[in-house]
């Protein structure tokens, strides 16, 4: 009997030991994430959160054709596909093309991408602003951080107000019930909010020149003021806009860079001409612009197809407008005798980029042959701006920054604001603005001397278009100038090929006199297309947003 008790004892003992040694707490916390209740304690942690606000949903390291953010390259420069500057290689059914060709519907995927990424950033900003007061740190630094976050939030509403118009104006953290029950705020309220925020943010942001190199890319006073100028300009507050832009010029921190080509590559990415830019870095936070932009013959996806319209907008180098009937026109090298920026911005048939770029429809062996259903140019032209000829690594691993606002835009906007406000425009103003832009060493176009308001307006608008081509602001310009319904109407052509065996694509029976390749037709609807509809997916959830 004794052994039985030993058995029981041993059994119970073993069991108890097993259970006691194993019975741990059922409270488990994440092992690789910060607990939110104990996070807001130090300046260093605040900086971590600020970095997350800057990042937003910009994607890095891989080609991304989706507009993941207003400041992702696909969100910014792809907007050119919605204009007369460029055509999306993906064709008429591309979402960017459909924004403005008269087929915009509420289920266009871009709408929800922009909408979602905006509110994501806004929520991150809101979270930062709601918690930053818990951190005890240097007050000046804290004020600067708050100003940066308010700047970024205001940028979201700037874009939203310009494209969607009236949107829900969220300025604090929401619950899910609140989010599902929002009303749209009138556009004027959104605009006023943006103006106030940019104004106040500018007060606490450091000047461009005071930002140390290690912090390059963080928002400066000038960045906030330049965005303030944009919204004032767009909302017709020309006098205020002129004064706003003047402050940037008066600071004198930013300069026109003499080298136009390098300005858009990694070489000059920290040039003071870049008032604000999206930061990229090879390996750890790279973009895939090269992959998307490079022509097929060097392994790129050639998504960017400049239209004949922008090519034709560049003047001859004496400042006279381009014409196909002018004797200086040479179809084999269309950049002959032209504004040098044409060649800096657009790649043509037979021009070199590392090797020869061949788009002629007869060139069956060229990867960039036009019109053979290949994934390459649909216009015969290629993008040259942003292309870094010296780059040889993985095309998806490029570290060059993406310009958001350049000083050239500031100068041109200043002139436009003065002009539209009816303020005095004299030669010295022209020399201080448009002629500085045209006159940079690598461009060196003749000075503008026209002072007639109506004529100068056209010149300023054209200058803006050719100078900032493919940088993603043309669409916004067309909307705010209210000329999209005239400009984005009718037929669009690409490269002229007067000599070819293969028939040049034409629209039904319309024979183009210059033998230009027919690309597409647009019919922007004045009644509906100046404002984007709220995404269908959002209306599904909250019918009040329709």
């Amino acid at each position: 009997m004794k052994s039985k008790f030993i058995n029981i004892k041993a059994f119970v003992l073993v069991t108890l030991v097993l259970f006691n040694s194993c019975r741990k707490d059922l409270d488990k916390s994440p092992l690789d994430q910060f607990n939110s209740t104990s996070f807001w304690t130090s300046e260093n942690n605040a900086l971590l959160a600020l970095t997350g606000v800057y990042r937003g949903s910009i994607s890095v390291g891989a080609p991304n054709a989706n507009a993941t953010d207003w400041w992702s390259y696909a969100g910014l420069v792809f907007m050119e596909f919605s204009t007369d500057n460029a055509y999306d290689r993906r064709g008429d059914n591309s979402v960017f093309n459909k924004l403005t060709n008269g087929t915009l519907t509420a289920d266009n995927g871009l709408l929800s991408q922009y909408w979602t990424s905006s509110y994501l950033r806004i929520a991150r900003c809101q979270d930062f602003l709601a918690n930053i007061d818990k951190v005890s740190m240097d007050e000046v630094k804290k004020k600067r951080m708050i100003a940066e976050v308010r700047f970024i939030r205001a940028c979201q509403y700037f874009y939203m107000s310009q494209f969607f118009g009236s949107v829900p104006l969220v300025t604090s953290l929401l619950t899910k019930e609140e989010a599902n029950d929002l009303n749209k705020a009138p556009k004027a309220d959104v605009v006023n909010f943006v103006i106030t925020e940019f104004t106040e943010a500018a007060n606490n942001l450091p000047r461009y020149k005071d930002i140390p190199a290690a912090e390059f890319g963080r928002a400066s006073k000038q960045a906030a003021i330049a965005f303030l100028g944009r919204i004032q300009l767009a909302e017709g507050k020309y006098g205020e806009a002129a004064a706003t832009y003047k402050t940037i010029i008066d600071f004198g921190d930013n300069q026109i860079d003499p080298d136009y080509v390098s300005l858009f590559t990694v070489a000059k990415e920290t040039s003071s001409e870049h008032v604000f830019s999206v930061q990229y870095m090879e390996n750890l936070a790279a973009n895939a612009m090269n992959q998307h932009f490079w022509p097929a013959m060097v392994g790129g996806w050639h998504i960017f197809c400049p239209l004949g319209s922008i090519v034709e907008a560049y003047d001859f180098n004496d400042g006279t407008p381009f014409s196909y009937t002018d004797p200086r026109y040479n179809w084999r090298d269309i950049s002959n005798n032209r504004d040098p920026r044409l060649k800096y911005n657009v790649l043509f048939n037979e021009q070199p980029f590392k090797i020869k770029y061949v788009t002629h429809p007869d060139s069956a062996s060229s990867p960039d042959q036009l019109g053979a259903g290949k994934q390459t140019t649909q216009t015969g032209y290629g993008l040259r701006k942003f292309l870094d000829e010296g780059y040889s690594g993985d095309l998806s691993n490029y570290g060059g920054n993406l310009p958001v606002i350049r000083y050239a835009e500031v100068l041109l906007s200043y002139l436009e604001a003065k002009l539209e406000a009816g303020q005095t425009v004299d030669q010295s103003l022209l020399d201080a603005t448009i002629n500085k832009v045209r006159g940079r060493a690598s461009v060196n176009m003749p000075k503008i001397t026209q002072l007639n308001t109506a004529l100068l307006r056209n010149i300023v608008r054209k200058e803006r278009r050719v100078e900032t081509a493919f940088e993603g602001i043309r669409y916004w310009d067309l909307l705010r100038w209210k000329i999209a319904d005239q400009v984005l109407k009718g037929d669009f052509y690409g490269t002229p090929f007067p000599v070819s065996i293969k028939p040049i694509r034409q629209k039904s029976t319309i024979v183009d006199p210059y033998k230009r390749w027919y690309v597409t037709s647009k019919s922007f609807r004045a009644a509906t297309d100046y404002q984007w509809p709220v995404p269908q997916s959002e209306v599904n959830i909250n019918p009040k947003l329709k």
Binding site: N7, I8, T15, L18, L26, K28, L31, D32, S36, F39, N45, L48, A49, T51, G52, R55, G61, A62, P63, R90, N93, S94, V95, T103, T105, A106, D107, W115, Y119, I122, R124, Q126, P168, V170, L174, A179, L182, F216, Q279, M281, N283, L284, A285, A288, V298, G299, W301, P367, A372, G373, D394, S396, K502, P503, S537, E538, V539, I541, N542, P543
Partner: protein, 1029 residues
């Protein structure tokens, strides 16, 4: 002392009896009392045996009169009959599947079928063994009612099916069943089917409730083989075969492609000369006619598996040792899978009261696949990417050029031809070690205490290599890159059980109390370098130092449970059972961790009542049963309620020349998160008649799930700016019927069996909580994927009303501009369903004209197993199918010229054209379709197709050599068989596509998915051999 004397006496009697050699005679008959010839009768102890004569009689000399006879016959399984001192033993065999005394494995124990109240389906290892499937799950398809197994892919190593027990039980938490292997939670993947003794599926509340916390979606119990009393038994089971894809889309040749491209792009991109050159094929470099899909699926993959097992049982020790090997070659080069299994189960009697059971198993798996090219981004990964590109790339693209360079393909990264010829690969190696020990202590008569400890360690190593590759003189894909990922999972459990069972006259009482604790820790590390000089050396330190990246993470969970069960039966006629379990999970906040899950069941074997027994003697069994209970679900990520700031590369941003770390709060959590619960009611009956030749059962179930753990992202406006973690929101219902019909019979030497099962499931969302949005068209739901009153996994879209024949047709149509701004002849015409006044308003828009087009959850699932035997021959066929299900045919699979993709033959043949403008065309006018679609590709009934099918899951023919013949060779049985899996498919689906693969599963969105990403389900033909010594 008296007791001791009695014991001694009994002992001596036994010894005396045991020593008397004697000859047993008898007669074996079938269920119909007809004599059975050729039945094997063996003495269990020493395998000494004989077979019955024509009249069913046998005569066997056994070593003693307490011997146990093992009687076996094809189609009847085997039966053990103790001689118990008799000299004449007449034996009546029942069919093997529905023996009343069949032992059913249930939670923490076993029960006889007659005493079973809950809904439990069981298959025996025998039914699975001969199936040449690589994953055990696929052998379960069609075998059991209410258990749906859909195999969505045929990829080697990944081809396990998706098991749903009684519908899809949640739209938030994962609705997979809990799998318990020998008492320890595990997975069905990679278990050698030869090792399986039984698989039980616990479907209703009462049977599953003992596993309360995780049992809401059913519990699958796997019991592996242990040794049996007797001499050493050595078995070999092996097969070899080859496989082919079950379906294969057909693409047009390059000449047709060129002509159709002109039509789609409304251009003359390809001149008549071009098209002629494509047709001639005289200049293949510039005018190719490739067939990438054929290139990719060029192999006829070999598949082979072997299993050796040794088992024995002596007085104190029973063991079973099993060694298994499987090799499955993919259809794509460099794609294969292999697996080694070892399992050792041993049961030792330490003393008359102590039993120790030890189970040790190890599984080693390895798979390899070709990898996508470097510099193509993360989506260019693995064999699925390569297949996807093969589906996409039109035939005009050259594979390999005459100068040795590769065609550049659509995106200048080469084609599937160069992908497969590159040095890129992915390799996985996994080791899964499992040990569990169980100590049973019979403390008193009827009372047993058990302590169980189990440990499981899973280690995986993954290597991803993307090689440098020269495509042509101008394009070299570079740099190469190497990623190494290792992860490990450590799981342990300790459990204590007390079991009591006692019979008082006609009262049978049982009780069980238990405790269990489980803990799991997962850790992963990955390291990356690129720019390795050359492709030969593939270790991290070879890579360039300037871009080395490493990542690591870990997570853990724990679960603590207390449970108890009582059951009572009176005269095996009235059955009662009650279960309660209290579970605590680390996944819920401290105040909400624990919850109770109770259940109760009653059974009434009315067939045992004399008014039935006496009046309807042909009825063998009639049992009524009902159960009710509440079960839980916590299949959600590990940290669902904690509010956190995420850290990681997705939040970093470069300031200046360096990268800055960032964090962000991305998710709103619910601090009051708690268990998801399912209330299940189950009523049914079982009926057996004519000596159990016919068995029929029917069960009705009603599963009501509430507090669903759901991330209502799709139901909350994006203005929130955060994603939502799991919330307890919503209610769901799954109601349905399950039927089984079994008929087994023997006529002389011919035996046959029919085993049919059929289930009906009605899945319905009842309440979405935060997603309850009143839509203008009257539906209540999130406006895209979930609506109250409709099933889950729905397709919500427009109703296609044919194709616009011509301009006149367009002109007289209802206005389409809200969704198709410029309708043209050849476009899909959408139907005007409703409008603001509840009536058709003459225009089609997203608000009023979308309807629920159907669900991806099958409403009907069925299986039919037919078998027959004649002398040594046996044949069987398993048919399996689903009906009442919709699939969405989109992306590369559905659309021609999608994202620079190709065009399939059916699209060419059925398209609308100007010359043949049919309003009933099977495909709209051709157009180039970007990855964001066109008005014709909107989610509509045009693309949502009937996904029903009937599939010949398995057909098998076998021959068992006569005992006498093999005995001379010292072998006790030999069976040869030929087997075919997935031999045929009957469906209405689009040509070349298998509806079982379907499209990618739809969860939150109906966005266009890359449904060209698939691995076809494989057909295979195998020849096998089964020998037992």
């Amino acid at each position: 002392m008296k007791k001791f004397t009695l014991l001694l006496f009994l002992f001596l009697t036994q010894q005396v009896l045991a020593q008397v050699r004697t000859t047993i005679t008898g007669k074996v008959t079938g269920p119909d009392m007809r004599p059975l010839a050729g039945v094997t009768v063996e003495e269990k102890e020493n395998k000494n045996g004989t077979s019955t004569k024509e009249d069913g009689s046998f005569s066997l000399a056994v070593s003693n009169r307490r011997a146990v006879l093992v009687v076996s016959y094809v189609g009847f399984g085997s039966k053990e009959i103790p001689v118990e001192g008799r000299s004449v033993v007449d034996i009546q065999l029942q069919s093997s599947n529905q023996q009343l005394d069949q032992v059913i494995v249930v939670g923490y124990g076993t029960t006889k079928r007659e005493n079973l109240i809950g809904s439990v389906a069981q298959v025996s290892g025998q039914d699975l063994q001969a199936r040449p499937v690589t994953q055990l799950t696929n052998a379960l398809a069609g075998q059991m009612p209410g258990v749906s197994v859909l195999q969505r892919t045929g990829q080697p190593g990944m081809s396990g099916g998706i098991i749903n027990v009684r519908g899809v039980g949640s739209f938030g938490a994962s609705s997979g069943a809990l799998v318990i292997v020998d008492g320890i939670p595990g997975t069905l993947n990679d278990i050698d089917p030869n090792d399986v003794e039984t698989i039980s599926v616990l479907k209703d509340a009462s049977s599953a409730a003992i596993y309360g916390a995780r049992a809401a979606n059913g519990v699958i119990l796997v019991t592996t083989k242990s040794g049996k009393q007797g001499k050493i038994k050595i078995s070999y089971n092996g097969y070899v075969g080859f496989q082919k894809p079950s379906a294969f889309p057909e693409y047009v040749n390059s000449a047709d492609y060129a002509a159709l491209f002109n039509e789609a792009s409304n251009s003359t991109s390809y001149t008549a000369q071009d098209i002629q050159k494509y047709r001639e094929g005289s200049d293949p470099d510039n005018y190719s006619n490739s067939n990438f899909l054929k290139t990719v699926f060029s192999k006829s993959g070999m598949q082979t598996a072997h299993n050796f097992s040794v088992s024995s049982g002596t007085a104190n020790t029973f063991y079973n040792l099993s060694l298994g090997y499987l090799f499955q070659d993919g259809l794509v080069v460099k794609n294969h899978f292999n697996r080694y299994n070892v399992r050792f189960n041993v049961k030792t009697t330490l003393s008359s009261k102590l039993d120790l059971t030890t189970r040790i198993s190890g599984i080693k798996t390895g798979d390899a696949e070709p990898n996508g090219p470097t510099t193509f981004g993360t989506e260019a990964t693995g064999v699925l990417f390569i297949i996807n590109q093969a589906v996409r790339y039109p035939s005009i693209y050259a594979g390999k050029l005459s100068n040795g360079y590769y065609g550049t393909g659509v995106v200048q990264k080469g084609t599937p031809v160069s992908f497969l010829e590159s040095d890129s690969y992915n390799k996985n190696n996994g080791i899964n070690l499992n040990a569990n020990v169980r100590l049973d202590y019979k403390i008193l008569e009827g009372l047993k205490l058990s302590a169980i400890a189990g440990y499981n360690e899973i280690n995986n190593k993954r290597t991803e290599f993307k090689a440098t590759q020269v495509i042509n003189a101008n394009i070299t894909l570079s740099p190469n890159e190497l990623t190494k990922i290792t992860n490990s999972t450590n799981y342990y459990t300790v459990q204590g059980l007390a079991e009591y069972s006692k019979k008082f006259g006609k009262h049978q009482v049982g009780a069980l109390a238990g405790y269990s604790f489980e803990s799991n820790y997962f850790e992963q590390m990955s390291a990356f370098r690129n720019n390795l000089p050359g492709n030969e050396l593939q270790q991290l330190s070879v890579g360039a130092p300037n871009n080395q990246q490493s990542n690591g993470t870990a997570n853990e969970w724990a679960l603590e449970s207390f449970f108890g069960r009582v059951n009572y039966s009176y005269a095996s006629k009235y059955l009662l059972e009650g279960v309660v379990r209290r579970d605590g999970s680390s996944r819920f906040p401290s105040t909400r961790k624990f919850a109770y899950f109770p259940s109760a069941a009653v059974g009434y074997r009315i067939g045992q009542e004399s008014f039935i027994k006496d009046n309807f003697s042909w009825i063998n069994e009639l049992k009524l049963k009902a159960s009710f209970g509440i079960l839980g679900n916590q299949n959600i990520p590990n940290y669902p309620y904690q509010n956190v700031y995420n850290i990681g590369t997705a939040y970093n941003y470069p300031f200046g020349s360096g990268i800055s770390s960032g964090v962000a709060r991305t998710t709103i959590t619910d601090p009051n998160l708690h268990w998801e619960s399912t209330r299940t009611t189950d009523v049914g009956f079982e009926f057996g008649a004519f000596k159990n030749k016919f068995n029929f059962s029917a069960t009705y179930f009603d599963r009501y799930t509430y507090d669903i753990l759901y991330s209502p992202g799709g139901s909350v406006s994006n203005t929130l700016g955060f994603s939502l973690s799991k919330q307890n929101t919503g209610k769901l219902s799954n109601k349905g019927w399950e039927f089984t019909l079994v008929h087994n019979n023997i006529i002389g030497k011919f035996s046959y069996g029919v085993n049919a099962n059929f289930s009906i499931i009605n899945n319905k969302v009842l309440d979405l909580g935060v997603g309850n949005i009143n839509q203008p068209n009257g539906l209540v739901g999130n406006g895209s994927t979930l609506f109250n009153g409709y099933p889950m996994q729905i397709y919500y879209g427009y109703v296609a009303d044919g194709i616009f024949r011509d301009a006149a047709d367009v002109a007289k149509s209802v206005i389409q501009t809200a969704i198709n701004p410029t309708p043209q002849p050849g476009d899909v015409r959408y139907k005007d369903i409703s409008g603001p006044n509840g009536m058709p308003d003459g225009k089609v828009d997203a608000t009023y004209d979308r309807v629920v087009l159907g669900s991806n959850i099958p409403k009907y699932t069925f299986g039919l197993n037919l078998s027959a035997g004649y002398k040594g021959f046996d044949v069987s066929m398993l048919l399996q199918g689903i009906a009442g299900v919709k699939n969405y045919m989109n992306s590369y699979a559905g659309f021609a010229f999608f994202n620079f993709g190709s065009i399939q033959k059916w699209q060419m043949e059925e398209r609308w054209t100007k010359d043949n403008p049919r309003s009933d065309a099977g495909y709209p006018r051709l157009e180039q379709i970007s990855n964001s679609g066109t008005p014709n590709t909107l989610l509509s009934s045009f693309w949502v197709l009937d996904g029903s099918y009937i599939r010949g899951k398995n057909m098998q023919i076998g021959y068992t050599l006569s005992k006498a013949a093999v005995k001379k060779a010292g072998v006790s049985s030999v069976r040869l068989y030929a087997s075919g899996e997935n031999l045929f498919l009957i469906s209405n689906y689009r040509k070349g596509w298998d509806p079982e693969v379907g499209t990618n599963s739809i969860e939150e969105s109906n966005s266009i998915t890359a449904s060209g990403s698939y691995y076809p389900i494989l057909k295979n033909f195998t020849f096998g051999l089964n020998i037992t010594f």
